[in-house]
């Protein structure tokens, strides 16, 4: 990773850190696959159960138990590979040997020099293209809880509790090339990756529940010089923490180098509360994993037909979904509303509202603002929302009134916008009536009107206030302003 031949991307001027330092970041993202069962056994792959219920001889590494590869896990891994533009190849499994109580066999079945997916890329919404070195299949470990002691780690604890429900859960490790140059890009990469994983149904990709975990390889150097020694940052549990951890680590390395020190290759632990990284282990005390081909499994060689059928089954990816919303609304695909709608998987709903005759732009705004729950698919019939967008578009309701009606429709799981508006006393005010009120207000306060016409925008308040008073607040402020501007221009 410190080899500069691995990435030819150079930071732009504004991406450089003070002092002309460039940060080089590569990410290793582990995602738990949304399979029914584990990678090598029939136990359920389910989060949140009582400890040690989703276990069997294979999961526990009992003597004589043998792994059998889960076909659904391979398909989901292939979906990831295809979504990340990887080459899917003939591959094998290796054993990664190390002792730890939550590793039941004392080895992890993983992939080593021949991963299932290789050499892909991920194009970020901002336009940056990050290379994907590999995306390989492996099994998760169990979960340790160290009781007693001050660190919560195994050393110094009184005893440790083991939950093997997670042991053997299928993971895909997605390794990026060191193509990332800012913490913003790193966050964008993980957010986009998460959106892709959700879109293709490969994983629920929840960093908080640990179904998506991210390690960052960070180094710094000055442009034109070889890449610096990297440190691997672990225990990054949110996208926000990722950005903070990378910025901290780059700063720390620059401080060390600026003061004449050298960076040791090591694994560092991100402490989110303290906002800093600590040494976890150095390269010297890293395990020798003694990788060798897993003799209990055979070569995995997906046929061209299988790969093609998986490719055909892929839904549109987030980039395509954003393009769809762009076409529908005219909004920039990088605009927040578009990104949020796609991240939450609400794009199809926006489209359905538009197809039900609704106004696409208002549909996008309603959906992203009113349905704040991430990923929530609103249970409201699209036609009900469509009707509301038309009321607002046609100025039958002010934006404020529309928002109130929308909240009620959402709370009730649907409803007739016209009836709700009427019940709330939101009479439809036609523009002619507002125009008359504006003219009356101008007549009532000619001084304010004169100032407004002379370019004193603040003076508009007095006129608008009169209109609002006359309409008992039912006039749409935007419409009042529009009428006033039109009158001023006459």
């Amino acid at each position: 990773m410190s080899d500069s031949t691995l990435s030819s991307i150079v930071a732009t001027e504004d991406q450089l850190l003070p002092g002309g330092w460039e940060m080089i970041v590569g990410l290793e993202v582990h995602v738990e696959l949304a399979t029914r069962t584990k990678l090598f056994s029939g136990s359920p792959n389910r989060f949140g159960d009582e400890p040690n219920v989703n276990i069997d001889p294979v999961t526990l590494g009992l003597p004589g138990a043998l792994p059998v590869l889960n076909k659904q896990a391979v398909e989901l891994a292939m979906r990831i590979g295809l979504a990340l533009n990887c080459r899917i190849q003939k591959c094998i499994f290796h054993r990664k040997n190390y002792f730890y109580p939550d590793q039941p066999k004392a080895y992890q079945i993983s992939q080593y020099d021949l991963p299932l997916n290789a050499d892909g890329f991920l194009a970020l919404p901002s336009g940056t293209v990050v290379g994907i070195e590999r995306a390989h299949l492996e099994e998760d470990t169990g979960k340790s809880t160290h009781v007693g002691g001050s660190t919560g780690r195994i050393h110094g604890s009184d005893y440790s509790l083991m939950d093997f429900n997670r042991a053997g859960v299928p993971l895909v490790e997605i390794v990026s090339r060191p193509d990332i140059r800012t913490s913003e890009q790193a966050k964008e990469y993980v957010a986009e990756l998460r959106a892709i994983l959700e879109a293709i149904g490969a994983s629920d990709a929840k960093m908080e529940e640990g179904s998506m975990r991210c390690d960052a390889n960070v180094s710094v150097h000055k442009i034109g010089t070889p890449f610096g020694t990297r440190c691997e940052i672990k225990n990054v549990n949110s996208i926000r923490a990722l950005g903070r951890a990378i910025d901290y680590e780059a700063r720390r390395q620059i401080d060390v180098l600026d003061s004449g020190g050298t960076i040791r290759q090591e694994t560092r632990h991100w402490d989110d509360a303290e906002g800093r990284t600590h040494t976890l282990r150095t390269k010297e005390d890293a395990d020798d994993y003694r990788y060798f081909p897993e003799p209990d499994l055979v070569t995995l060689d997906p046929s061209a037909e299988w790969i093609e059928s998986v490719r055909q089954s892929l839904p549109p990816l987030p980039a395509a979904r954003r393009a769809m919303l762009q076409e529908l609304t005219g909004y920039d695909p990088q605009s927040e509303a578009v990104i949020v709608a796609v991240e939450r998987g609400q794009h199809e709903y926006v489209k359905a509202i538009a197809e039900a005759g609704g106004d696409p732009v208002k549909a996008l705004i309603y959906v992203t603002q009113a349905f704040a729950e991430a990923g929530a698919q609103p249970a409201v019939p699209p036609a009900d929302i469509a009707a509301l967008t038309i009321l607002e578009r046609d100025n039958k309701l002010s934006a404020t009134q529309a928002k109130t009606v929308l909240a009620e429709i959402v709370a009730n799981g649907g409803g007739d916008a016209v009836a709700i508006a009427a019940a709330k006393g939101f009479e439809a005010m036609d523009t002619t009536a507002v125009e008359a009120m504006v003219d009356e207000a101008i007549a009532a306060d000619p001084d304010a009107w004169a100032k407004y016409c002379a370019g004193e925008e603040k003076a508009a308040g007095a006129i608008v206030g009169r209109v609002m008073k006359a309409s008992k607040g039912k006039a749409d402020g935007k419409i009042v302003s529009a009428i006033m501007q039109s009158r001023r221009g006459l």
Partner: protein, 478 residues
């Protein structure tokens, strides 16, 4: 009282027809065990109560006219590295003492479904590492033919159990000769099927890419019968060959007329002269039976032992890492987790197991992998290629099983290299993944049995049993 037949097929037909009860068969064998196993120590555990209960259930089935399997009432002894539900499975190691698996090995389920009755778990070299059954944490097994001698190993308990008449058939596992060599030394038939022919699910792994389960029997026909029952695809073992069990019993009496049988002209030396005399007698017998003897060379054979002692320990070092005191088996408490691992494994494993774990760990270490493990894999491929070339011209190959007849207990325990050389003729077929069997063929030094080994290409079990049957029919005549 009706005499209990001595063979598995004889017992099965007598029990099925109702002429002998399964219970009386089991009782007769349990009585022999009770009488003699104190001296021989073939068994780590005799499951007398379970065996009697199982026999009674089979007799009840027969009385009620319900169908019974092809091995109805046949007592069988199981090597103690085969998992048996709720019954101690120790691998003759202190580290697994008292462990009761929550599941049956696939072979155990299949035998049970066929009506075979397990009478107990047999002794072995700890984790199947050895050639004399002296590396058992629970004491050595003696050769029933001469109690001062070893039965061979590592499946020495299973070989001795059949030789002593404790069971007509038994199961062993063969990683580098652990079925065939003790079969030869105890004067019984032993078969290592093609790798992948028999499911390894529930066999406690020694070296996963080499391990294969197979039967011991007093006759070639019984060995074929047991192989038929335990073979065939198992979805629980990814390396299991996806095809049904072959028909083999018929091959035993088919004869060898027209077969081409290979004589290896560059066989590595070291065999006792009497063993080589028996080999020549075997070729004479096969030629007399109508086979054509074809001279072949297998130049890579002499490298097999070295390759084996890198590959098998490497896999073993990983396979045995799970015995860490965390979840099952022995735990020796210590100050912290790493110290607990060390203390548990130091106390739980015997010297030979530790030796192989260290060898294998070294062979896989960063910086040594290519020179040792990687090179051993290349040798393995070359051996397979040499066999492939040879099998273009022959249907089967006959070589000795062991260079020596049964040796004295204690003779080689302090000389690992001398012990390793016992497997020089059996290891190559494990590396190639091919089937091989040992058939008693007369006697050698000290009037002790000599085993002839029949090798065949992958899935060549039919050819192998034809030749094995012919050797048996020739009677091992001196």
């Amino acid at each position: 009282m009706t005499t209990v037949p001595s063979t598995a097929s004889g017992i099965a037909s007598a029990v099925s027809s109702g002429s002998v009860s399964a219970r009386s068969v089991v009782d007769a064998h349990l009585e022999r065990i009770a009488t003699r196993d104190g001296d021989i120590h073939a068994f780590n555990l005799v499951t007398a109560d379970e065996a009697r209960a199982h026999a009674d259930a089979i007799d009840a089935d027969i009385a009620a006219g319900r169908p019974v399997g092809p091995l109805a009432g046949v007592p069988i002894a199981l090597k103690d590295n085969l998992c048996t539900h709720g019954i101690d499975t120790t691998c003759s190691s202190k580290i697994l003492e008292g462990w009761k698996p929550p599941y049956d090995a696939t072979v155990v389920s299949r035998l049970r479904a066929a009506g075979a009755i397990s009478v107990g778990k047999t002794n072995l070299d700890e984790f199947a590492m050895g050639s004399s059954t002296e590396n058992s944490a629970f004491g050595p097994t003696k050769n029933p033919l001469d109690l001062s001698r070893v039965p061979g190993g590592s499946s020495g308990g299973s070989a001795a159990a059949v030789a002593a008449g404790f069971a007509p058939v038994s199961l062993g596992s063969d990683t580098g000769g652990s079925i065939r060599q003790p079969a030869a030394l105890c004067g019984v038939v032993g078969v290592k099927p093609t790798y992948g022919m028999v499911s390894r699910y529930g066999l406690v792994a020694y070296a996963s890419s080499l391990d294969q389960i197979g039967p011991f029997a007093t006759t070639v026909s019984d060995a074929a019968l047991i192989t038929e029952v335990i073979a065939g695809h198992d979805p629980m073992d990814s390396t299991s060959i996806p095809q049904p069990a072959p028909s083999l019993v018929g091959a035993v009496t088919q004869g060898v007329a027209g077969m081409r049988i290979g004589r290896v002209t560059d066989l590595p030396g070291g065999a006792e002269p009497e063993v080589m005399e028996r080999l020549n007698a075997a070729f004479d017998a096969l030629a007399a039976a109508g086979a054509t003897i074809v001279d072949i060379t297998l130049p890579s054979l002499s490298y097999a032992l070295t390759a084996y002692y890198l590959i098998a320990p490497a896999e073993a070092s990983s396979n045995l890492a799970r015995f860490d005191g965390v979840r099952y088996g022995l735990r020796v408490n210590a100050a912290d987790t790493n110290a607990m691992y060390g203390a548990t494994r130091a106390a739980g494993f015997g010297d030979e197991v530790k030796r192989r774990i260290m060898l294998g760990t070294y062979a896989l270490s960063a910086g040594y992998y290519d020179a040792y493990y990687g090179k051993a894999l290349k040798v393995r491929r070359i051996i397979a290629q040499d066999f492939d070339a040879a099998y273009k011209n022959v249907d089967a190959i006959v070589i000795p099983t062991s260079p020596l007849v049964a040796f004295k207990a204690g003779d080689k325990v302090d000389d690992p290299m001398a012990m390793y050389l016992c497997d020089i003729y059996t290891i190559p077929t494990n590396l190639a993944g091919h089937p091989a069997m040992s058939v008693p063929f007369g006697t050698g030094a000290h009037n002790l049995p000599v085993g002839m080994q029949v090798l065949a290409p992958a899935l060549g079990e039919v050819a192998m049993f034809r030749v094995g049957g012919a050797l048996e029919a020739a009677g091992g005549a001196q």
